[in-house]
Amino acid sequence: MPKDRKIEELKRIDNPEDLEALREKLRRERDQDQVRIRICMTGCRAHGAEEILKAFQEEVAKRKLDTRIVSTGCHGFCAQAPVLVVDPYGIFYGGVSPEDVPEIISQTVEKGQPVERLLYTDPSSGKPIVQAGEVPFYKNQQKVVLRNCGQIDPTDMLQYIERDGYAALAKALTRMDGQSVIEEVIGSGLRGRGGAGFPTGRKWSFTRAASGEPKYMICNADEGDPGAFMDRAVLEGDPHTAIEGMIIAAYAIGASEGYVYVRAEYPIAVEHLKKAIADAEAAGLLGENILGSGFSFRVTIKKGSGAFVCGEETALIASIEGKRGMPRPRPPFPAQSGVWGKPTSINNVETLANVPPIILNGGKWYSGIGTEKSKGTKVFALAGKVNNTGLVEVPMGITLKEVVFAVGGGIPDGRSFKAVQTGGPSGGCIPDSMLDLPVDYESLAKVGAIMGSGGMIVADDRTCMVDIARFFMDFIQDESCGKCVPCRIGTKRMLEILVDICEGRGTVEDLQTLEDLAYSIKDTALCGLGQTAPNPVLTTLKYFKDEYLAHIEEGTCPAKVCKALIQYRIIPEACTGCGACLKVCPTQAITGEKKEVHFIHQEKCIKCGMCYSTCRFEAIEVN
């Protein structure tokens, strides 16, 4: 198999039979015994993956090995970054450095043996695990959306084709009409993965039925939820999946034009998308007369410019039209009057990534996964105070406990679990008493949270829930477009109250005012951003009222987070007088002779926490 394929080598594929023949050829030519090193070259770049790739390339060239190095997208286990897998052995290595490369080559590539010290150690048994599939983090997952992420080089379309790529598109174009595609998707039970969970097939049927030409198909890749990064992973690691899903959707609704609206903060995603679109066009899988079917669909990339509200569909449309990204009341819904006033369907990246497997395997297969009302799998971005931060894909209906503990590996530093926040600024905080809650649209909504786009932030006992509520309200204040009064002014008032409570000026009456404001905003705000903005406050008030009361009545922050309510102090018995804290203190608030107990002068202390994070003897306490 050639090591590098360039776009010029991609010939136009004129019909589905030629696509199948190409796929067969790729599979035949694949050398099953060839050693392949799959290295994450997206998220792991931040952890020096590029240097490791270079070290492998040099070492493989030096030893003249027939080893293929594949730069892949995200493997999901970001906590172990940089990660790689050596096939055909399936050996998983995390936390690799360039110095480890020669040993991996000698042991694993040349002999098929694992390098023990680089293997993942199972925290529960203390034993090393060789195979990627045996690592608990991966074992409990089921991959549909992320099926190719970490497996293929996202810039090589042929690798996508080899793994059933564009087979669903060929099937839809030759054996189904638009209506039957929609019926298949309705039958699958697929619901929007961007937040609201509206049935995807029904959205399409409205757009299909609407009058007006041309129709537009938009892929919403404006992943603005803080703490969610699954769409980024799909676009970076398997961009063709989203594009194939988009083309199928366009065929179903009868759209000839499309946009991908993507965050500008995701440069690798934009780069891979551009390449994927160019390659698909060159191969006749996108553009004019796709696969000789007579169906044509053109896609343009539009980059966002840093406005959270643009994830809301009417705001996104305004942004594509080059206006301020402000939402407008619905109806009319985009299905009737969307971009440029034409019928438009807007679907999120993860939703679209589900479409090719649904068309290929049938809606019935998909609806066999998940719960009665929430079908399929869901990708979650696990982050915060959890051991296995990363991307996980699990069947709907799995419990929160399984996600946080079985997949997520529990809480680090021996701390205890306090809450999990789902759905970002529109979601809520779920306490430990509800850890057995199944993760699906209905169950999450019932407790006041939402599925949202799938951000899951874990909080431990050192996370202040009032501070979290304040954080989200601050976020909303920043991102509110200012069009409607409840969101522009109401959230401002809520934020002021929360700041007062965090700084020790709150009163018990404030809690009632917060609640009243919250419900008024929920009822009267114009768009989803405002209507859901009070959720973090309402859920923390409901499940963590004691923390609010501690701030108000006792003037203390139980989690020791709120600066105005804490003091740093040196424990004389533990202080060795090393002077490390004294050196880092930016305000010279610490004094003390070498090898003698040091002292923090409270009047000078700005509570920056530098001493606390510097001290190696746990001699600084927070009160």
Binding site: E223, G304, F471, D478, V584, G609
Partner: protein, 157 residues
């Protein structure tokens, strides 16, 4: 970074967008200009207005709406400090305060010597690195207040 001579250069960017595209081309064009010049000088915006036949007031409305557009020149090194949820609960606020205090920003976002600009961003989507900041295209993960000085100093020499 931009200078007066750089401003004259936007003609080649304008040419990539047909005047008929009108407002639909505005965001892309503004993004291209900012990418090339580092900010959006008013002379360039006047040229954009003429080319796409959009009043300058409308263009200003769009620029002021989106966080990524800047009307003033930025520092040589742009620091993006993430203030997403994961970064927040892992102590990002303290890191941000330390950057501001070390660079002596006093409410501004660019240092007087124009060496640094600070941008607070809402989630870089790299929550496993929390708290995280970027300088240019380089990520600095698992930040602590103690690391701030060391890293910023390396850009000052």
């Amino acid at each position: 970074m931009s200078t007066q001579t750089g401003i004259a250069d936007v003609t080649h960017l304008l040419e990539q967008y047909a005047p008929e595209e009108g407002q639909g081309a505005l965001m892309g064009l503004l993004q291209d200009i900012q990418e090339e010049l580092g900010y959006l000088p008013v002379e360039a915006l006047e040229a954009v207005g003429k080319h796409l036949k959009i009043p300058l007031s409308h263009i200003y409305g769009v620029i002021s709406f989106y966080a990524q557009f800047s009307l003033t020149p930025r520092g040589k090194n742009v620091i993006k400090m993430c203030m997403g949820t994961a970064c927040h609960i892992r102590g990002g606020r303290m890191v941000l305060d330390e950057i501001r205090s070390y660079l002596d920003l006093n409410g501004r976002d660019t240092t007087e010597d124009k060496l640094f600009s600070l941008e607070v961003v809402r989630c870089l989507g790299t929550c496993f690195l929390a708290p995280v900041m970027m300088i240019g295209n380089k990520y600095y993960g698992k930040m602590t207040t103690a690391k701030v000085r060391k890293i910023l100093k390396s850009y000052q020499s």
